[in-house]
């Protein structure tokens, strides 16, 4: 079973502050993803990556940056957090080619006050 670990699991931030959500996977998957989940919207793709050094925009990238410094790590960065970014964020990893099975982390709950 794939192991995807997110940190922090819970975070309270202030408006205008910087937030970094980290994700680590130990299964040597090429692809990694950041989704957010809000009531009424299901899971929406923010950024994804095909491998170290690669970041791609998903469907809702505005207000977010991503960084993939290594195969194992993929970070989501909110430079200037806003209350509208209050959500639960999920990281996932999967095999290359886009058709690989996805494995999710446990989620990070972010509250921006």
């Amino acid at each position: 079973e794939a192991a995807v670990t997110q940190s922090p699991r819970n975070k309270v931030a202030v408006t205008g502050g910087k937030v970094t959500l980290s994700c680590n996977q130990t299964n040597n998957h090429n692809n990694m993803y950041w989704y957010r989940q809000d009531t009424g919207h299901g899971l929406r793709l923010i950024h994804y990556s095909y491998g170290a050094g690669s970041t791609e925009k998903g469907d809702i990238p505005d207000g977010y940056k991503a960084s993939r410094p290594s195969q194992e790590n993929f970070s989501l960065i909110l430079e200037l957090a806003t209350p509208s970014q209050t959500s639960v964020y999920f990281c996932a990893s999967g095999d290359a080619g886009g058709n690989g099975q996805l494995y999710f982390g446990e989620g990070s709950k972010l509250t921006v006050l």
Binding site: G40, G42, F90, F104, G107
Partner: protein, 109 residues
């Protein structure tokens, strides 16, 4: 419009009964994945499908890429089946996996 549309949006079942969830695609899906989000919020892999069917215990899933839909059948529903079921498919052969809005299932005794 919705690229991955799930139905129904919510479903209530008595223990021991059967039901089916559906996922319709307006994208050219080549694979589909089904997940269960349990009441604690964890996303659990249920099925990863190419066109065809798979079965795992009381769950069975089918994927028809030509007709652009997938189904998830639950047999003999149990309380622990409660949660939200999501289907997802890659868009255009890319790594972008698009999710449906989910079906919230409540199983009661």
């Amino acid at each position: 419009g919705d690229k991955v549309k799930q139905s129904p949006s919510a479903l209530s079942l008595q223990e021991g009964t059967n039901s089916a969830l559906r996922c319709n695609f307006s994208i050219a899906a080549t694979t589909v994945q089904w997940f269960l989000q349990n009441p604690r919020g964890s996303l659990i892999n249920l099925f990863y499908l190419v066109p065809g069917t798979k079965e795992n215990g009381r769950l069975k899933s089918a994927f028809d890429s030509k007709e652009s839909y997938s189904t998830l059948h639950i047999r003999d529903a149990q309380l622990e089946d409660s949660g939200t079921y999501f289907c997802a498919a890659p868009q255009g052969g890319s790594a972008k996996l698009i999710f449906g809005e989910g079906t919230k299932l409540t199983v009661s005794s």
